[in-house]
């Protein structure tokens, strides 16, 4: 049988998917054990035990200075920034994308501006944001928004503009105005695409969050990673990175599930 025709069963798929991850973990453990056999004080590849000890302090003991449990304070601060940034970006992408996609004069006027903003590397704007907005939360959220919103706007605008011309004509023969076409024809059809755009934007959003936190912050997952780097604390960095990965996967899965639940018509004929 050709490889293109081989489809694994559901149970097998989970097993197959887990295999490379397990192998990587095993490889890490072997390498870490080797290094520790040569030098018990090795910090570069910490063993699970030392990660557990290091994380226990951050997970369960309140910080003496702030009185907060560091790990949860970091998670909360980062998720808050990410959530606000993603929320603002998504909302503006929806509004701008719809208007640009449905109304040709607006597209002609503002399309080039959105494109111009989208091609500027957001990190290059970070100094401007810090100067203009200070070093507080606003600048970090703004970096996430500027980083992901223009791409999302262009995606939604292009998607809406690509809706079959027949549909827009049909809506007009049914008496729909521009506004009614926007809210009843374009908006509902843009929603699944918007959730998809959010899923794709999650990756860059995390990049901009960690960057902003690394440069100027006093709490946050990115801040902690870059802080403990000075002490070569791989036993904190690795669990933090794993935690970020888990959070990102959960968000992605939640968005995919929400899209299937809320817009079954957009996901094939099986309702």
């Amino acid at each position: 049988m050709r490889w293109v025709n081989r489809h694994a069963r559901r149970g097998d798929r989970i097993l197959l998917g887990a295999l490379p991850i397990i192998l990587l973990i095993l490889l890490y453990l072997v390498l870490a054990a080797q290094r520790h056999a040569e030098n018990p004080m090795d910090k570069i590849l910490p063993l699970p035990g030392s990660m557990r000890d290091a994380m226990a302090a951050l997970l369960f003991q309140a910080d003496q200075l702030t009185g907060q449990v560091v790990f949860w304070a970091d998670t909360l601060a980062s998720l808050q920034r990410l959530g606000i940034g993603l929320g603002i970006a998504t909302l503006s992408a929806l509004v701008v994308g719809l208007v640009l996609g449905v109304l040709p004069p607006v597209r002609a006027t503002f399309g080039p501006l959105v494109t111009a903003i989208a091609v500027i590397p957001p990190i290059a704007l970070l100094p401007i944001l810090f100067i203009a907005l200070g070093l507080g939360e606003t600048a970090k959220v703004a970096l996430i928004v500027i980083g992901i919103a223009p791409v999302m706007m262009r995606d939604i605008a292009a998607y809406v503009a690509d809706l079959p011309r027949e549909q827009i004509i049909k809506a007009q023969t049914l008496g729909a105005s521009s506004w009614q076409i926007m809210i009843r024809v374009a908006l509902p059809q843009a929603m699944p695409r918007l959730l998809h755009a959010m899923r794709l934007a999650l990756g860059p959003a995390w990049v901009f969050l960690i960057s902003a936190e690394a440069i100027a912050s006093d709490v946050g997952l990115g801040y902690r990673i870059f802080l403990v780097r000075r002490y070569l604390s791989m036993d904190v960095i690795i669990p933090y990175v794993a935690w970020i990965a888990i959070l990102a996967i959960l968000m992605d899965m939640a968005l995919a599930l929400a899209s299937r639940r809320a817009f079954p018509w957009a996901h094939g004929a099986k309702h």
């Binding site: 049909k170 007009q172 023969t173 049914l174 506004w179 009843r184 004929a269």
Partner: protein
């Protein structure tokens, strides 16, 4: 006889390419006009001009003696070959949409009694096209024939002065196409519709129409083929049928279950 729709000296040009030249037509209320012609003879351009999707380069179009606005409106309904239903709305909501647009300019949604009245009207129209049992399906769950039935119901619920069909049955299986021919004939008679249909199926044009127009170029310049446009070279009035043609009845009897079978497959 007074004409419902009059085209006066219509020219359609794209750059220096002339697609339609000097089209003069009068279409009477209640007629079923089939438009045929070779590919690129401007059949669809003519339909788009009547629909208001395209503005003719020259000439004027009168509907009831009034010049048409160069924009689509609820006085002209349309069914395209594909993509003329909304994939995000169920059958019932697809049909109510037109009524909602007229009665709720801001929200385009109806509530309470107004909604029930609109739903009742839409249901009646859906029963007329044979979709009475499929009110809550989404278009993606339906066969091509059912989607075209929905597109017709959606257009008719607005009671358009003219119904424009752009190769509406071109993508359907022969059996289902025969069902659709019977359906459109029945609707045409029951609702006293005026229909303009573009098709590339000559047999379909003659079985359904009360008048067949053939678009083609009268003149041809071998060195600049794009400089002469097409116009109506044949304009054949057919005897108005009081009953559907015999072949159509036979086709209907042979395949009454075709569409229902397709539902199972779809």
């Amino acid at each position: 006889m007074s004409a419902l729709l009059s085209l006066r000296n219509i020219w359609v040009e794209y750059g220096d390419k002339i697609v339609l030249e000097k089209v003069d037509l009068d279409i009477e209320a209640g007629s079923f006009v089939s438009i045929i012609g070779p590919s690129g003879a401007g059949k669809s351009s003519l339909l788009r001009v009547v629909l208001g999707q395209e503005v003719p380069t020259r000439g004027s179009i009168l509907l009831d003696g009034e010049p048409l606005k160069p924009e689509c409106g609820p006085d002209r309904g349309v069914v395209f070959q594909r993509y003329s239903v909304f994939p995000h709305l169920s059958v019932l909501r697809n049909t109510i949409f037109g009524l909602e647009c007229a009665n709720a300019p801001l929200t385009a949604r109806l509530f309470g009694g107004a909604r029930r009245a609109a739903a009742a009207e839409a249901e009646e129209m859906l029963r007329a096209v044979g979709l009475g049992d499929a009110l809550h399906l989404y278009p993606a769950q339906m066969s091509g024939g059912m989607q075209q039935r929905l597109a017709i119901a959606q257009a008719l619920v607005k009671r358009p002065r003219i119904l424009l069909l752009d190769e509406p049955f071109g993508a359907l299986d022969p059996g289902i196409r025969a069902d659709m021919h019977a359906l459109i004939t029945r609707l045409w008679r029951d609702y006293a519709l005026t229909i303009i249909m573009v098709t590339h199926d000559i047999r379909e044009a003659f079985t359904l129409g009360t008048r067949v127009l053939t678009l083609d170029k009268r003149r041809h310049d071998p060195h600049a083929p794009h400089r002469f446009g097409a116009t109506a070279v044949y304009d054949l009035p057919l005897l108005r049928r009081t009953e559907p043609a015999a072949s159509e009845d036979a086709a209907e009897e042979n395949s009454p279950q075709n569409d229902e079978e397709a539902i199972g497959n779809g």
